[in-house]
């Protein structure tokens, strides 16, 4: 037990990422309000990005950005995970935009944000 706590503390960034992912995941799945679902989705994705970035971080090294001369390779953190996270953020922004657009559409049609009552109303209507 002590060993587990110790390793959780040693990798506390990963621990936080997993906790955030769990929070996001449950919000996305269990809430019926669409806006809350989208918030949950964003928390979940942020957790993934935190996990990715923390894997590329090496203590006491600088970000791999070119400013006033270069250092040796050993002076920088691993840039690949940061690059992946940047791509991931772009993806997440566009996904959020599409979800919000759909939410607006649905709200205009059903005047509610609750997906369960939407489904009920939808079942009543034919084509």
């Amino acid at each position: 037990m002590n060993g587990l706590l110790d390793s959780l503390w040693r990798h506390f960034d990963v621990t936080v990422a997993i906790l955030l992912f769990g929070i996001g995941f449950t919000t996305l799945l269990l809430h019926t309000n669409l806006i809350k679902k989208i918030i949950g989705l964003n928390i979940m994705e942020t957790a993934t990005f935190l996990f990715l970035t923390s894997q590329g971080y090496i203590a006491n090294r600088a970000a791999p950005i070119l400013m006033e001369g270069t250092r040796a390779v050993s002076g920088y953190v691993n840039p690949i995970p940061s690059g992946l996270v940047l791509t991931g953020i772009v993806v997440s922004v566009s996904v959020t935009a599409v979800m919000l657009a759909l939410t607006i559409r649905l709200y205009r049609r059903y005047h509610t944000l609750d997906i369960d009552s939407m489904t009920l109303m939808m079942k009543g209507e034919d084509e």
Binding site: F51, V95, R109
Partner: protein, 497 residues
């Protein structure tokens, strides 16, 4: 490097560029550009596949001539080229056969965007088939998810909007899991290119290191892709989405998008993790369980339907289940059978969706079985193609579906213990249920209409009928050349790793 070797890159770029150009074009031009690009990709692949057969092996294509750690790579092999050709043919025929219907169902100003999404789906499919880089795969998974969501809502009904919301939610969970799997893989191996990861994991497996993380990675990939494909516990969005979106969209979603995801999963198994590691890993049982439950639940769902398109949609759930179950079996024969069925199902399910919608038109725009009685006489060509597709799905000899069932049964017999029993039982039960609901529908199509039914005039489209005839011919051809196709797939799988 010969010119023909650029085909994978050209096809992806062609689809991407046309997706950018299409929105500013007038509607007619947009339509023909979109269809033309797909046709061009088909032609390029008709040129490319014979080249790959004579070339024998596979090659890596560096984008922009940057070597591995900096540049992005594509990989072309026998199997990739053939699957890309098959799925592009499905895409082309689906677009042609659904064109008339979608012009009536989608608001005219929005039609341009439908064609954009078709091009994006095409680009995403080709990229997933050809990519040699895990992260590129992730990006295109998301592009495919967004564009297929847009295809669903192109016809704006309450059903499609709610279904696409559910699809987005599940789909994003799925891509989240895939992204974590990719992050873990990178963490473990320090690479994103498939070959490099494969080499490192082979060393780990030989030394017995990191067994648990590798199992977790495989499980995450399976769960992520299973959500995307709409396999049993994750299929809630599927019936509404396929039943209410326009017929071309349903055909593309069921036959191109979910097949591209499935191919990616097989590719990850062979080229990233390594098939030997996969076969001995317990995470594969997850796939088996998902597959078998999906086979049964999908068929049961289809039987309960009163509406022909929902029935075809539920049948998709059960057919995706076959693919998952037989890859989950954990033998090369099983994977080959699943790949064969993937092609059969792609051709067949798109044909079914596209035959259903003219039949509904001929029945006063109703999808209910009771109104569809006699529709096979009112509109002959779709009636015949639906019957053909239904017979193939049930597994009547000389059609493709019959050979998939034979290959499935052969592969299942090579399994061990309870796996063998479970797979054979599921195959038998699911075939029985398939036969029940498909034959019931086909007989309904050729029954006398209910009393007092007055046939209404409807629009016939020559283009759709012609595309359906080509679909029928392709499906018959798959049946005739089944033995050659399966030996081709087996040879392709051997050069895959």
């Amino acid at each position: 490097m010969q010119l023909v070797q650029n085909v994978p890159f050209f096809s992806i770029m062609l689809s991407m560029v046309s997706a950018i150009v299409t929105p500013v074009l007038p509607r007619r031009a947009a339509k023909w550009l979109s269809v033309g690009v797909v046709a061009a990709v088909v032609c390029l692949h008709i040129w490319f596949v014979p080249f790959m057969i004579s070339y024998g092996g596979s090659y890596n294509y560096m984008m922009g001539h940057f070597p591995a750690p900096w540049g992005n790579e594509l990989r072309a092999g026998l199997l990739e080229a053939a699957i890309a050709l098959a799925l592009s043919v499905v895409m082309l025929l689906s677009q042609l056969a659904g064109l008339n219907k979608l012009q009536r169902q989608i608001d005219p100003p929005k039609q341009g965007f439908f064609y954009v999404m078709c091009n994006l789906v095409m680009a995403g499919m080709l990229a997933l088939v050809y990519t040699n880089d895990l992260f590129t795969a992730y990006v295109f998974i998301e592009i495919l998810a967004l564009s297929s969501c847009a295809l669903m809502v192109a016809r704006q009904l309450g059903h499609t909007m709610v279904a696409s919301m559910r699809y987005m939610i599940l789909s994003l969970l799925g891509s989240g899991l895939v992204l974590i799997a990719i992050a873990l893989t990178y963490n473990l191996t320090g690479h994103l290119l498939m070959e490099n990861i494969h080499d490192v994991i082979a060393v780990y497996a030989a030394n017995g290191e990191y067994a648990l993380p590798i199992t977790v990675i495989i499980g995450l990939f399976i769960a992520g892709i299973a959500i995307k494909c709409g396999v049993f516990p994750f299929h809630m969005w599927l019936p509404d989405a396929y039943a209410y979106s326009t017929s071309a969209a349903s055909a593309v979603l069921s036959s191109v998008v979910s097949k591209a995801y499935f191919f990616l999963l097989v590719k990850i198994f062979y080229r990233v993790i390594g098939i030997d590691v996969i076969m001995s890993d317990m995470a594969l049982n997850l796939m088996l369980v998902l597959g078998i439950s999906s086979m049964i639940i999908g068929s049961l769902g289809a039987i309960r339907c009163l509406d022909i398109r929902r029935m075809v949609a539920y049948s998709s759930v059960s057919q995706m289940g076959y693919l998952f179950a037989w890859v989950g079996l954990g033998s090369e024969v099983g994977v080959a059978a699943a790949m064969f069925h993937m092609v059969v199902h792609a051709m067949c399910k798109s044909m079914l969706f596209l035959s259903v919608s003219p039949l509904c038109d001929a029945s006063g725009d109703s999808k209910r079985f009771i109104d569809l009685r006699g529709a096979g006489y009112r509109y002959v060509v779709p009636g015949i193609t639906f019957t053909l597709g239904a017979l193939s799905m049930v597994g009547i000899p000389i059609l493709g579906g019959f050979f998939s069932k034979i290959f499935f049964a052969e592969a299942a017999i090579s399994g061990t213990g309870w796996v063998q029993v479970a797979l054979l039982a599921a195959l038998a039960l699911s075939t029985l249920l398939n036969a029940f609901y498909f034959m019931h529908t086909v007989m309904g199509l050729y029954r006398k209409p209910r009393q007092g039914y007055e046939p209404q005039p409807f629009i016939k489209s020559a283009l759709a009928a012609a595309a359906l005839v080509v679909f029928g011919v392709v499906n018959l051809a798959i049946g005739f050349f089944a033995k050659d196709i399966i030996s081709f797939i087996t040879a392709g799988l051997q050069t895959f790793a």
